[in-house]
Symmetry: D3
Subunit: 150 residues, 6 copies
């Protein structure tokens, strides 16, 4: 089934995370830019939650999705990342502490999802991957989405 | 970009929730059955979390995704629903209690996502929709995924 | 296997909850009093968490386990009840809100579990019962223990 | 000891909540306006968390601290209220559900707490009051602070 | 008071944890096997939650309570361990992170607690021990029970 | 605006934390002693939550706010610290694990806040400071208050 980006920032971000950076096609990316969104994708995996947070923040800054030196932008992104992590961790935002590890494909998307210009820019962080014991195959899928005004 | 179902039960469930029951095409549904999955889709919205849980459980039973009268099946589904709700609620599994409401498209998918037959059947509950004040437009997207062995 | 009370207030309370008020034998009760503990037992069931809290508090006051009109005693008991409820609810202290109900046997035990008199009195709340859908048989066991200085 | 407002939005908001709307003096209010902040104060009490949220949001809109019809402003305020409630509830954002009630003095303060103009406006919600059983005197103090970019 | 195992998997598991591996008598163990349950007991203590999880999982695998190489079995056990840890930690599943340590006696019990064969096998993880500062004597009791279908 | 201590232990503790140990004036301290409270103030900062807990406990013991070797006193203080940390962390009592750090001014106050002598002594832990990325300036204020009977 064909999927196209639209104004829905969360849906777009989730599709990017589900495709992953290696499989998304150029047409989707082109249409997403036409929709007015700036975005980045990446992969990260760790038993340490702070490494996951850092990887997403670094990618967002390097790819110009958020400004490097403006705290309000980092603050908006940080809370979107934390909210997305709630979907992945489902109760306790802990990985290695509770003997589990994640491998994630992520996306960060920024733009104007609302009709009214007064609503300004919003940011979405989407995560898709696997979570489980640090043993190959002993894992199942996990997903998370965080959305914030920026 | 074209998306097809594969063995990944969570990804399939999330695509169904993102499409919604009204927009998913017959080809996707046919391919999902060929993959060996049974599933259902639906919509639900409420300020009461228990109504959301009930709607998903009712749909799963009516559509034969889980058995009607086997508690272990209800138990597996219940925990998958609760885990998905964590993604939507991100910290406190509360809606009206904290003055918010959701409108959700959901899917429940059941089948064998692992290569080894010994891994048996698993169940995935995916949610996609909006969450916010009980005022039209005052909402943003939310997503959740719960996976359990069944 | 024979179980006898000892200085361990939590273990004693948990045994009382596991026995239930109808099955505990007089010998256990007598030995518990000899150990210097005052206690009460009861049963409560509800979809409303506040009714569970109220039932335990009422029983503790009626049976003289805590004083009626001293807030510090109610405060100590309240937190012990809440901690015990964490064991029963395992993440979200919610029952009907998430479409589940409990039937519990409870005990409240008060006394001096430590060797040193300086450690004073402590209070334990133990819960044992079942939790599940409000449908007969669709439930499994749950346990909780809360301990506080009083 | 004399306290004056400064650029610290959270400290200012907390002082307003600690003073309460009836006791704050005109000098403090005047100095807070000179600092460039807009704000409101109020009181609310309930066993229902959603009523607390609604009271703070209503006061903020009525007093022009946030715009009436711009969702991004309501979103920023909502999350600040929820974060403040975490301080008051300390684990489960529940009141009546767990047999407790609050009486709160609140403040909402908006302005620029950072030196750099690029950091823009932020909003702080501060809460101070008592929490306990719905019985007079059976309560102790509680405090919360939530801060968000807006 | 004499306690005998019965069909209640959680109660049986909790009794095993309360007795501990050194004090449980052969009669209880024999009766538990007659009831159709397989089980193991052990002790573990740490400031690191992941070591507690690992110890219980290792014991369960070594003693044949769950299969070594079937992820669905590890998944069922993992969630039962996590649920039991909620009873012990009561809010945040953290030990050393919040300056506390546990010493636990645990049991893992597997079997059929329901009358209907269709309900299949379930698994229970019970924990009993002490939790407190990493200073001898500065601790109180804690208990947890997790139950899952397997 | 002039602030004076009164019987309200939480408000007094919060004022001490807001002033900080370097700025509180002797008059406030004298009046607080006249009110019958014993207290201490300090500063602590870390990415490790357990270091924050340890710093507050050490200060309370060194300054005679709680006894050194009486576990019930440490237990009362510990839970008050944890409750205060909920206000600062707002959901997950984690710092470095989620890539954030705090710098806090704290106070511990002990005394009798209630009219009736039967209510005995209570203890309050108040925290005020900043929380954010371990990068200077990338932080905002945070506050917490925990109150317990002792
Ligand atoms: Mg939001
Ligand atoms: Mg799982
Ligand atoms: Mg404790
Ligand atoms: Mg923040
Ligand atoms: Mg369950
Ligand atoms: Mg309290």
């Amino acid at each position: 089934m064909d999927v196209k980006p639209d104004h829905r920032i969360g849906k777009n971000a989730m599709h990017l995370a589900l495709f992953g950076p290696d499989e998304v096609n150029q047409e989707y990316i082109k249409d997403l830019r036409i929709q007015g969104f700036v975005f980045c994708q990446g992969k990260t995996g760790s038993m340490e939650t702070n490494k996951i947070v850092a990887a997403i923040e670094t990618a967002a800054k390097r790819n110009g999705v958020i400004e490097n030196d403006v705290y309000r932008e980092t603050h908006a992104l940080y809370h979107a990342i934390m909210e997305a992590l709630h979907g992945v961790t489902r109760g306790q935002v802990l990985l290695g502490t509770v003997l589990r590890s994640v491998g994630l494909s992520f996306s960060v998307v920024r733009g104007k999802p609302y009709q009214s210009d007064a609503e300004g820019e919003w940011i979405a962080v989407a995560l898709y991957g696997t979570i489980g014991a640090p043993v190959k195959g002993a894992e199942h899928e996990a997903i998370g989405l965080g959305i914030n005004h920026i």
